[in-house]
């Protein structure tokens, strides 16, 4: 309903409501992708909402608005990585080294930013979308614009790495 109001009449108040509704999840997504860089996350989130407003005519409602918004966010993040090189991307060898040092985790408490570092960028994105933002596999495939099988592989690999990391960091499952 809100989306239709913005699309049909350019209703800014309706878009303001949409922004309030989704700002938390989009900013959180960026915050985790940028390893906790709050300022950069907010800049990227602002860009996401502005681009969404400018492109609302192209939203056809096939997928949910949230999925569409995350796809814009994903594109903006990787455009930013490619053009500005602002994030501290860890290269493959560093990731592998970190991953191989299974007993080297010194922190007593598992920290989400540290946990994110052991994943490759694609794995990180897929894992965040699946476990934190509760997106389904097909939705993640649309957001990341890659085949469903690839998404499943990213999540599986990410899950294995993070599972080991968390266990080594002393994190325990509370339920049964």
């Amino acid at each position: 309903m809100l989306v239709a109001r913005v699309t049909l009449s350019g209703d800014k108040k309706a878009f303001d409501q949409l922004t309030r509704k989704y700002q938390s999840s989009i900013r959180r997504f960026f915050l985790n992708l940028t390893m906790g860089d709050g300022q950069l996350s907010d800049d990227l989130a602002q860009e996401t909402f502005i681009r969404a407003y400018m492109n609302l005519n192209s939203f056809q409602g096939i997928s949910g608005f949230s999925t569409w918004l995350f796809r814009i966010a994903y594109n903006i993040f990787y455009d930013s990585v490619r053009s500005r090189k602002v994030t501290q991307e860890i290269n493959e060898s560093e990731i592998n080294l970190l991953y191989q040092q299974e007993h080297g985790y010194s922190s007593e408490k598992a920290d989400i930013q540290e946990a994110m570092k052991i994943l490759r960028p694609e794995e990180r994105t897929a894992v965040l979308l699946f476990y934190m933002e509760d997106k389904t596999h097909p939705e993640i495939a649309k957001i990341m614009q890659c085949p469903l099988g690839t998404v499943k592989t990213y999540i599986l690999k990410g899950k294995e790495k993070m599972g080991k990391y968390l266990k080594n960091a002393g994190y325990e499952y509370a339920g049964r």
């Binding site: 700002q23 909402f49 005519n57 796809r71 894992v127 899950k159 994190y171």
Partner: protein
């Protein structure tokens, strides 16, 4: 292997849900709204230009249909008529060029979603 996967799955679900924090708005949406450009005004300008171009084309086109009947063909008039046709062709192209850029721009922005 399957058991381990399920265990990892549970651990990860719990870990991420524990770390899932709601971020308060604190003027974020206001900043976004201040930066949003006037999208609609620009679109109306394009449609207005396309309409204006179409109207001019129609008026001049109609005149051109009548004109050959009232003109006595000689060398001087033929040259004038030639220039007139070029001008007319240019005017007729206005709505098409405007619409082309409008749709080209829209297509470029489209996210196919």
């Amino acid at each position: 292997m399957q058991v381990m996967n399920t265990q990892d799955d549970k651990i990860l679900k719990q870990f991420f849900q524990e770390n899932k924090k709601e971020i308060p708005d604190t003027f974020f949406s206001r900043k976004v709204m201040q930066k949003i450009p006037e999208r609609r005004k620009y679109e109306w300008l394009i449609i207005l230009l396309a309409g204006l171009g179409s109207l001019i084309s129609f008026v001049f086109g109609k005149f051109e249909i009548i004109r050959p009947n009232i003109t006595i063909p000689d060398i001087t008039i033929t040259v004038e008529r030639g220039i007139f046709i070029y001008i007319l062709a240019g005017i007729i192209l206005i709505p098409f060029i405007t619409l082309f850029f409008y749709f080209f721009k829209t297509d470029k922005k489209r996210l196919n979603f």
